[in-house]
């Protein structure tokens, strides 16, 4: 997904780290990784540890980190948009206009990454970066613990109790699409984008599924 960007910028002190939030593990992610033919890091995160550490709620989200290891942009939607919400569910296609807008938004995001690497533009001052961080609440902290427990129980032959823990995690942290969709996927591949997913998306109303990055 990011190979072109990486090829273009890798000689300028730039690295891409792609993390698969994938509780089914490396073998499940391998076909996608093979197809991407990437030379940057492709890491496997079965416990969604990154989501816990960085307070992430969906994929794709990205964090920009500078040469000193400092966060210069907080978690943001990485090149995706809400146009998919208007797609024809029978054919699973978006209108040409929506497809064009979606592509343009993605291009604008990639251009912003390029500008950051080339000129430092879009790196936020500390106060602004801090202001963009979503707060971890006690409910979110408990949700991550229950999610981790649920993944473990599922991987150790206890899907019923694992599912129960993951459902509790989703109830505690309803903004996390990753928790809900991963649990659905562990239940059955495909369920993460099935009927219940679309109901959940519709229930958002005017709220975004992918909040646009504030570039």
């Amino acid at each position: 997904m990011w190979q072109e960007l990486y090829d273009e910028l890798k000689d300028k002190g730039f690295m891409v780290v792609a993390v698969a939030e994938e509780s089914r593990g490396a073998e499940h992610a391998r076909p996608w990784i093979a197809a991407a033919r990437s030379s940057y890091w492709q890491l496997i995160d079965t416990d969604h540890r990154l989501s816990d550490l960085y307070n992430l709620v969906n994929v794709p989200q990205a964090v920009w980190i500078d040469e000193q290891g400092r966060i210069v942009r907080p978690p943001e939607t990485a090149g995706s948009t809400d146009h998919f919400r208007r797609m024809d569910l029978k054919t699973r296609t978006m209108s040409p206009a929506d497809q064009a807008e979606r592509l343009a938004a993605r291009q604008a995001y990639l251009d912003a990454v390029r500008a950051w690497v080339n000129t430092g533009r879009h790196a936020l001052p500390a106060d602004a970066a801090r202001a963009g961080l979503p707060k971890v609440t006690r409910e979110i902290a408990e949700a991550h613990a229950r999610f981790r427990l649920g993944v473990w129980l599922r991987a150790h032959g206890n899907p019923v109790e694992g599912d129960r823990q993951m459902n509790t995690a989703s109830a505690l942290h309803p903004d996390s699409w990753s928790m809900w969709r991963q649990a659905a996927d562990l239940d059955e591949v495909g369920k993460a984008s099935g009927t219940d997913f679309w109901k959940r998306v519709q229930a958002l109303g005017d709220r975004p599924y992918y909040p646009p990055p504030k570039l």
């Binding site: 990784i33 794709p60 980190i65």
Partner: protein, 129 residues
């Protein structure tokens, strides 16, 4: 044996009555050491309620709750998870130093974020689902 999951590790511990365990096991699981002042890590000590220490044994559930971290268990109380306290996560993020982590690549080779110091890093998630 009781399984205890922490954000970065998994431990098998001889625990009783919930998460009562030896101070040595408590240290292995939490990284905090039992001292007369309480549970200590580096210069910092957190006093423990009297009911959470018995001789050389510690109630890790009580200690973790005192820290503000979530303590959850499966129905049978055989598998537990200790989560990072919300305040700790917020403080780490607000410090803006990117939280470090080590994760395997698709072939199992461990990779650590801080190995990339000196480069601009675009850290992005994806998933098959």
């Amino acid at each position: 044996m009781t399984v205890i999951l922490t954000p970065g590790a998994e431990h098998d511990v001889d625990a009783r009555d919930g998460l009562w365990m030896s101070a040595a096991d408590a240290e292995k699981v939490t990284g905090w050491t039992l001292k007369p002042e309480g549970m200590c890590r580096a210069e910092l000590c957190v006093p423990l309620p009297a009911a959470a220490v018995k001789g050389k044994d510690v109630d890790v559930a009580a200690f973790w709750t005192k820290l503000g971290g979530p303590v959850v268990a499966d129905e049978d109380g055989e598998v537990w998870a200790l989560g990072a306290p919300a305040d700790e996560r917020n403080a780490a993020l607000e410090g803006l130093q990117a939280p470090d982590f080590t994760l395997p690549d698709v072939d199992g080779t461990p990779r650590t974020l801080s190995q990339l110091r000196g480069k601009k890093v675009f850290l992005a998630t994806w998933a098959s689902w």
